[in-house]
Subunit: 363 residues, 2 copies
């Protein structure tokens, strides 16, 4: 087996999930993630954890959902399993990203609603989601298999300790700042971040970060004003949005356009009041992610990008007890910052993709 | 997908496990059993059950066992899952029957001992064990893949209702009889079955039968006298036993020999006192199993065979409260009955493989 698979397993178990002896671990394995499961199981053995391996197969799920009449229940056995788990490791990596394409959306929605309690219980564990590079995901990214493996391990096998330290600096700037301004071609946007707490998402439960790879610092902006242009395409609900422009007044979207699938953007904005306000400002800082692959897990952490999400804000960014923007949606849209600047309280902290603490920064 | 996979799933869910709406089902899937898992998931959807799919991978298990220091624990999450399950379906079918070959026996034993509570809890569910035909199992059976699939579905896709009725007749004969005598080349053996209750093992939890395929009637004999020759080879603990002869006096083995691996037979007999007495007399009645494949799940149910087990007896065969033969082992050995006879209380009930209720029986 490729040595990188073992290294991936070690980062996941030790850096991300912080597994300790005696931990009860659910190891959820997608159809194509067998090799990573083997490597993770070895590490879990070495750490003295107790793994329970589940099979997260889209084809099995499709058959079940299509066979069912739609009145779904939650299994007591599954709820009991999750409630008794310390750690939940999700190894993604399917064999066909369209495996659920012929399951009606309302059936998926009904199942998701019926099992919401399970999802809540999973969030109460030390959960981490990662992916094993499969041919199917390479295809989704428009890359050759070996090329895609290079890409994935480049994003995952980082010096996380040092990236976490760098991101801590960014978090400090955001925590002590009041206003962020983004300026790029087509974008001049200001947001208030007063009294908000940024999350240093360093791919570890120790940082309240649950994705591997991660590598972003995010907060919950408000009172957004101005225009923003998202030059990175994103696939939302199976529709590819391109060249999205939004105009904000008093924190709310008052005008919008898209170069493709504008009606999908309109649907998103019409979901509820919160869908017209921002829930997240995220600053991508993972320089191991050097291209867009049409997978949000990777794209939004890419170095030299910023993403803004319409909809729900994360509680972790808000002062204790205060509720942030509420919405049924959380839709990330990405802007390339390699030509442009980010200011905090009038001071430039990033210009043309270079942060002010990096070599070559021109303030 | 082969229509027989769907038929297998239907027999498993409806005849064997009697799954009902709302049942919480654990679906344990071996590495090579994906297709059967898909077909079973569809049926579980149709019945309105709640499946939780686990991945029973020998390679994952090997990595975990080899990584661990040997002081194993039981996961509370796994115990909670099993204790809350109504049904446990085990879909066997690996990709390499030797996948655990380099895990030391004592490590496997330590893990098995540490997780005994889990096994007990599984036995308290409506559990059923079956196999999906894989190339690895075909190889183990010395058969081509397509040939092996024919064989497996021939054994599983039976008219179980009618076989259960036929086996009920055999059970009645055993329940009302006092003594069984087996006579074949090299065999003349008598056993008392007085006050014992036979089990009609008809591949359904409704019959206290947990294997698919099944198709045997078994009871717990005692006071065995005489000689028996087992002409069917059996692999026990990785050793292939051939041409085993046993001589019984007063219910105990007093002499033995084997054509190959006699020292393994000696080890079994030396385990404890109970290992020298019989725990089971089983009568194979599944005519869909027409050849030996070196897998006890199939071999012991073959029509025209009888198997005797050294060691532990099943409680179900004993009068309420009475303990049968106790032992740490239960080792099945098989004799071909196609030339010979079985008598109950002096009356011939099977001659040359034909039961007395069948055409061509010569009493």
């Amino acid at each position: 087996m490729d040595q990188r698979v073992h290294e991936h397993a070690e980062v996941l178990v030790d850096w991300s999930a912080r597994v300790e002896a005696g931990d009860d671990v659910v190891l959820s394995v997608a159809e194509g993630a067998h090799d990573l499961a083997v490597a993770v199981a070895e590490k879990l053995g070495e750490r003295g954890a107790n793994p329970l391996v589940t099979y997260d197969s889209d084809e099995v799920t499709r058959a079940y959902l299509r066979g069912h009449d739609g009145e779904f229940g939650t299994g007591d056995h599954e709820l009991a399993m999750v409630e008794n788990a310390d750690v939940y490791l999700r190894l993604g990596g399917g064999r066909n990203t369209s495996a659920l394409a012929d399951v009606p959306g309302e059936v998926r929605q009904a199942h998701s609603t019926a099992t919401a309690e399970l999802k809540e219980a999973r969030m109460d564990t030390d959960w981490v989601s990662t992916v094993h590079p499969t041919r199917s995901l390479a295809q989704q990214a428009g890359m050759a298999y070996e090329e895609y493996r290079e890409f994935v391990y480049g994003a995952i096998l980082r010096d996380w300790e040092s990236l976490a330290a760098e991101m801590a600096g960014m978090k400090e700037l955001l925590d002590s700042g009041s206003e962020v301004r983004l300026v790029t071609e087509g974008t001049d946007l200001t947001m208030s971040i007063e009294n908000r707490t940024a999350v240093n998402s360093a791919a570890s439960v120790a940082y309240d970060s649950h994705n591997l790879p991660s590598g972003e610092v995010f907060t919950a902006p408000q009172a957004t004003e101005g225009e923003v242009f998202f030059d990175v395409p994103m696939t939302i609900n199976g529709k590819r949005l391109r060249d999205v422009s939004l105009t904000f007044e008093g924190g709310e979207v008052v005008d919008f356009s898209a170069g493709a699938n504008e009606e999908e953007l309109e649907t998103i904005l019409g979901t509820d009041d919160g869908a017209r306000r921002l829930g997240e400002l995220g600053i991508g800082m993972n320089r191991g992610i050097d291209r867009f692959t049409d997978t949000v897990l990777f794209d939004e952490k890419m170095g030299d990008t910023v993403h803004l999400a319409l909809g729900r804000a994360y509680d972790a960014c808000l002062p204790g007890g205060e509720a942030g923007n509420e919405s049924a949606v959380h839709v990330d849209l990405i802007t390339d910052m390699s030509e442009g600047r980010m200011e905090i309280d009038g001071e430039v902290v990033q210009r043309n993709g270079t942060f002010r603490w990096e070599d070559g920064f021109e303030g």
